[in-house]
Subunit: 543 residues, 2 copies
């Protein structure tokens, strides 16, 4: 059917005419400014607090293309963020404005996790963001980890404050201060809460979504009567994040335990999900900490157990942040732009009506509306681009660049045949395009849902095979160095010291990302020392 349609479309040239449907690469003309990495990230010296606001620009259609991913991964990433309107720089160095399209991805993440948190017995609440400086100092390794990154409020209501206030970098300290007042007996446990909040860390090297001075996250905090319960909770939450990453974000993360060196400041154990980005760098995409009694001892968070004894509670905390949006971009995006997993896409289907003659317009638009309503009624997130300022070809490029999983085209012939054309974002050109799908609601809805599921699975499979082809099993430090030098992840037996772990970082730039939960059977020898090793670890360069 495609061959029958094409001639009539390629010969069109009126105001709203179509660009040939079989063209795979089309010129992208976008009026947006490019984000420059040098503006956002800055060296540790010479940091201007604010960037100069750019002068207002008149709308202009300069040619803009997204830097090819293979050419410059970082430039490509920033181009996507700017052109897909995911985020923009805030006026203060290292801050980010999350624009509606980027925020909608975050909202989809929130919607999913929020339900899961509640299903597993957690309640949302809200703690103040100002923390007395003295709190941060109470847990020794916590203050050591966070003090270099703090933003401090020293003036309030026109007066110098007696005690400076920390703008929360995380909330363990204030949470424990409050838990100490709420927890009295074993009947008050477990206490399981979560908050959706902004946090501030004065990072020197920033990158939109991945590492910003202020970011959004959820932070869960729980208190339990026994260490076993706390451990179970910490594992439950990293498992929830893992499922979320696989099923919703189509990111095949590797879940595991952090080494002592990489453990959260104040935690006994940190569990992590590590994702491989398109440049093969690792991104820590979520963490869950077993805090043991570290904070409860520092803050005196005690309960009376069933035998009447006073005991310190056992705690966990766990978080996922707007960094995850960066992970989605860098896992699935390609030279054309963003590619969103259907389960988290703000727009799952873009409909482009196409007409040439004025008398065709109303028929095409009526059919478009009817198709839109069918899909919407079925819970599919659909948008119509019926603007007349842009030609269809421009729209195709635009919505592909925005990563919309499916495109539906409806032209006069489609109206006659009561069918539509559907293209997949993840398969370029003819291969991803199917003609003649019936407009009839039940057929179309079923077809579209099926295709969205296919795209979702396909993104995961593609990311999985990319990941697996870039993990190298190594048996010696030389092999590790070679794998890292090739930009890959090195996986090998590890039982060496913290000092040797730090040496690897200094010499190769790679860090120990995790000891994966999935471990090979059999006896192993540490790649560094040759001593017996219980586990393999993964080393990689990371964001």
């Amino acid at each position: 059917m495609g061959a029958l349609r094409l001639p009539s479309l390629t010969s069109l040239s009126s105001a709203a005419a179509a660009i040939p449907r079989h063209r795979c690469r089309r010129e992208l003309r976008l009026p947006f400014r490019r984000l420059s990495s040098t503006n956002f990230s800055a060296a540790e010296t010479e940091l201007p607090t604010t960037t100069t606001p750019p002068k207002p620009k008149i709308q202009q259609d300069k040619d803009r293309v997204i830097t090819p991913r293979s050419q410059d991964f970082n430039a490509w990433y920033l181009d996507i963020i700017a052109n897909a309107e995911l985020a923009d720089y805030g006026p203060v160095r290292g801050t980010m404005v999350i624009r509606p399209y980027g925020y909608a991805i975050w909202e989809a993440i929130q919607d999913y996790l929020n339900v899961k948190f509640k299903e597993t017995g957690h309640s949302n609440m809200y703690f103040p963001q100002f923390i007395p400086y003295s709190f941060i100092e109470k847990e020794a390794s916590h203050v050591e980890g966070f003090s270099p990154e703090l933003a401090l409020v020293t003036v309030g209501g026109g007066k110098e404050l007696e005690e400076k206030l920390v703008v929360r970098p995380t909330s363990e300290t204030i949470v424990n201060h409050m838990f100490t007042q709420w927890i009295h007996s074993y009947r008050d446990l477990p206490l399981m809460i979560n908050q959706w909040a902004n946090v501030t860390r004065w990072e020197m090297r920033t990158k939109p979504f991945v590492r910003t001075l202020e970011f959004l996250w959820q932070e869960g905090h729980t208190a339990h009567a026994t260490p076993e319960e706390a451990e179970k909770e910490a594992l439950q939450m990293i498992d929830m994040y893992t499922k979320f990453a696989y099923q919703q974000a189509a990111i095949p993360v590797i879940a595991g335990r952090k080494s002592k060196v990489e453990t959260f400041a104040g935690a006994s154990k940190t569990y992590t999900i590590e994702a491989m980005m398109g440049d093969r760098k690792a991104l820590q995409a979520g963490t869950s900490h077993n805090l043991g009694q570290n904070f409860s001892r520092a803050f005196g968070t005690q309960f009376t157990d069933e035998t009447g004894q006073r005991q310190h509670v056992w705690q966990t905390s766990w978080a996922v942040s707007t960094r995850f949006v960066g992970g989605i971009i860098m896992t699935h995006g390609d030279d054309t732009g963003l590619m969103l997993p259907p389960n988290l896409a703000p727009i799952q289907v873009i409909i482009t009506p196409i007409w040439i003659k004025t008398d065709e317009k109303s028929g095409v638009l009526d059919a478009t509306t009817s198709v839109k309503e069918s899909l919407q009624a079925a819970g599919i997130k659909v948008k119509v681009d019926d603007s007349e300022q842009r030609k269809p070809g421009w729209k195709f490029n635009f919505w592909e660049m925005k990563g919309v999983p499916l495109r539906i085209e409806i032209g006069p012939r489609d109206v006659s045949s009561r069918s539509v054309v559907i293209s997949r974002r993840d398969i370029p050109g003819k291969q991803g395009k199917v003609f003649g799908i019936s407009m009839e609601s039940s057929t179309l809805v079923g077809y579209v849902k099926g295709k969205l599921d296919e795209v979702q699975s396909s993104l995961l499979e593609k990311a999985k095979s990319f990941r697996d082809s870039n993990i190298v099993d190594v048996g010696s430090y030389d092999e590790l160095k070679e794998a890292i030098a090739q930009g890959k992840w090195a996986r090998g037996p590890w039982s060496a010291s913290d000092k040797e772990e730090i040496k690897v970082k200094e010499e190769t730039g790679a860090t120990l990302r995790c000891f994966p939960f999935e471990q090979p059977q059999g006896t192993k020898k540490c790649l560094m020392t040759g001593d017996p090793a219980d586990e393999v670890a993964i080393f990689a360069k990371s964001y």
Copy 2:
């Protein structure tokens, strides 16, 4: 049927025995500490930045009663907040921890408004909370209004900052800084966004929910091509807030326009919804501002219109905050505690199973589960209190104090007769109690939904008649003073000067709350000057 049941219940006295069902007032024994107003609110001098953390307490069942509302409204309010576990004090003076039950009310507010905002074309996004100090100074009246209340970050990452940063008290300045970069032509308009965020105002007199150093809100910001569109938007949003207040919160607010004196710092016009609390003080519960071109001129936010001319955009902003939760408490609460409107109640129905003999337990609990599941399946927010530590009478008190609109009791007799007993929170004692409602799912669901609707309407009607009986029409300043002295709202024609408006405040403590949208017909004479007046205004003491 009630008479038939009571004897068997009043004679019970085993571990989980019931307290007689006809008792209207029962002793309330709660283990919670009381919030003291002196800890939270403080005079302008001698402000400790942090309060001393209270020592951990062993759980104890001291007798606790909520201060009667008529005796001390403020103490009553704080008692409800503490006992219903809505909020607690944060460690920094004037900050508040919003506990799960209080936060769930805020989430219900968010759920409703978020859908309405999106339906009317607004997109959520997120702006950084740190604003360069110079931004605040750009709009003259804005800096005048906000500079006394600012929290300033002066240290970041261990270094003194070159330019101090304001922790956002509101976001008009940073929004305009960004709008200036995004808006180029009339095609980019209207630009309509919203953000859910925390904001900080260094208030001297604080009160949980009503006025806190940090609070949560939504702030909408829009930019339009014409003043008419901006005005229409500002009115649309105050109308949305009004409907929300009436339909969801059962608060019969009076919507109107603020006087020039009371207009938001930087706005051309401020619209407001004013709610009458149980002590007859006014609470400004939401505002919508027509900003005119004040910020667009200060920040150079311009667009090219259809004729190619550069013009400044016309803007609005509008907000509702966690203060609204305080409004709900102070509108509907009574001596027994909180009373929540069903549409915003985190728990709409509490089910209390009651059994005496061990062999009755499983039958009662099975019936309870089945009733719970029926209601849940119908979308009703239901909770079962089957704890065995507390007697039914204690539970009745507890959940009444928590403001749950309906209580269902299920005892062995109810199981035999396949029926339940339902009590309304808003009608105490026998009058609010109905026996013998069938457990059969469709009957019960229909009955419960109907009752929830009745409670919702009834709360609104009660609040309306309270409001109307406390607004006095006045024709002279003497009458105004008398009405205010009686604690009422004074409504009268007003066309006097700002100076005279300020005089009223100084002499009576009352401020001009608004010129209501609903105005009486006919010619009027200003109550202060006797000059012709176009409108009546409402004066009242306020929070």
